[in-house]
Symmetry: C2
Subunit: 317 residues, 2 copies
């Protein structure tokens, strides 16, 4: 049953656009806070291509500023983590009546910036497994997958909060493959086992995931990076089976040729999410006395590349 | 005094061309074994630009095949290490009367391939500090430096061989800044402290040495790689002062903007000397129980890039 939960979606990219549209299509009240697409979506609505069935959405509730948003029950943070600096401006209005924040971002401990605004007990995080691209203004192409593993940012004991369960129900009603997890941190570390080697190497070596898997050197390098992440996760309390590394490699080998989000950002001259995906896990592990020397090499290489891109962009202006 | 030492120079690149020409100019009998330049040099001789004084060299003793070379007292191996597979064909003729082999190549234990042909006791190695480019057929542009630290490949105790001293004298007579060292391995490790970070990162990050030094992330990464090489060297018996790392960084900061030999190879679609500069030191250290995890990341990245280049070159044929 569709409840009267009111959603705010902060960010109209491939992820926020897709999930927001699925919720709106299901009958939920969804308010989009958009930046570059605001006029286009206001006039023409959304266009969504998805294996769930293509659809268009007219009469969308669109906002150019957080100030015009109503108080929402759930405010979904669907920005890149590189934009987290503006959350302090964007979140207060839609969360003004005590609603929850659901952070659908990549990386580790990226809920911290939202928690600094609304308090950690009101924050949930979602780990998304989604192949979706923004192909034009107001136009999302969802290719594959779409699962969200969501959980409380600061869980109280083993218990999953009622809020997490309720939000998950809403997402499932909208046709989204959502699932509540008691241990969000472990879900995030598990995703990092893929993200750290394949986001990092795809940029550092300018290669797609299938090129990385086909070459024995890059494949061995990916495996050695995964081992470090696996150990770091355990040091941080997220103990995973040793099988997770080989399983992740097998799944990657079977994937359709796929460009990681970080590679797409790099190729499109956007800032990469280096701190969320590399810096935060490295620092979390060091706090527990665990070093990831190989991951650190990739981290510094990506920071270098990020800074070179930024410098050349400034020079071009 | 110029002796009657007869030199054979295997390879007419920026290094073999320069040193061979300086020896010939000084009056030594020098036989060049050339590949692509053989006709040009036979007809037009060598042209050498150097801070020591530009000169041209006519009537050069040029060979297109090792079979036409006479027995030489000193056969200088001035090929890239990636070509060492052909030394078994090239060395027997010029060394047939018991002459010595002087290996002027980059990396660690790269004398092994020459030693396999003539025996280790007849092999010397030289560690070159040279900025020199091949700018056209038979045309060498020597920019800066030129020192050779040479020593016996298999030293007998602390003593430097008479052969090493005699060859050094000849080089010095030809105006070359040559010096005999008792411990060739340590000289090679010391050079690797520069070569491993700056050859490797200049390719992996597509950057010149000044760009790498100017960025705090790549500079910190270079330092962490240097520390691993420093420790590995010590594990292999080449103990160096801890100051060598900061000194090398300072010297690099003061360098004119400079492309490492590996970057030039990469940019010019030539195979890179990955095994000589990375693989051999990594394996030598592992044999002594010392891992270099950061260096291994760079090693595998370079192997990947080398193989991708090779694959695209084959595909283009």
């Amino acid at each position: 049953m569709v409840t009267n939960t009111r959603f705010g979606i902060i960010g109209g990219g491939a992820l926020g656009g897709l999930y927001g549209c699925l919720l709106a299509k299901a009958g939920y009240e969804v308010h989009f806070l958009l930046h570059s697409d605001v006029d286009h979506v206001r006039r023409h609505g959304w266009k969504v291509e998805t294996p769930l069935g293509d659809f268009e959405l007219a009469d969308v509730l669109v906002h150019a500023s957080a100030e015009s948003m109503p108080p929402c029950d759930v405010t979904v943070v669907a920005l890149k983590t590189t934009q987290n600096g503006i959350l302090a401006e964007l979140l207060p209005k839609p969360t003004s009546q005590g609603g929850r924040v659901l952070v659908l971002q990549n990386g580790l401990d990226i809920e911290r910036d939202s928690a600094a605004v609304v308090g950690p007990e009101r924050v949930l995080g979602g780990c998304c497994f989604l192949c979706s691209n923004k192909v034009g203004p107001g136009h999302v192409r969802h290719l594959d997958h779409g699962r969200i593993l969501l959980g409380d940012y600061h869980p109280s004991g083993e218990q999953v909060s009622q809020h997490a369960l309720a939000i998950c129900d809403d997402l499932v009603h909208a046709g989204i493959d959502a699932k509540v997890v008691a241990d969000l941190a472990t879900a995030r570390w598990k995703k990092l086992i893929w993200n750290i080697p394949f986001n990092g190497l795809s940029v550092a070596l300018n290669a797609s995931t299938d090129e990385l898997m086909d070459n024995p050197e890059s494949c061995a390098l990916a495996r050695s990076l995964m081992k470090e992440v696996h150990q770091a996760a355990a040091a941080c309390g997220s103990v995973m089976s040793g099988r997770v590394i080989e399983t992740t490699l097998e799944v990657t080998r079977e994937m359709v040729p796929y460009d990681s989000s970080m590679r797409l950002d790099y190729l499109n001259h956007r800032p990469m999410e280096v701190e969320a995906i590399f810096g935060n896990p490295i620092r979390a592990a060091i706090e527990r006395g665990c070093e990831m020397p190989r991951v650190q090499v990739l981290y510094r290489q990506l920071l270098f590349l990020n800074q070179q891109r930024l410098a050349s962009r400034i020079a071009a202006q």
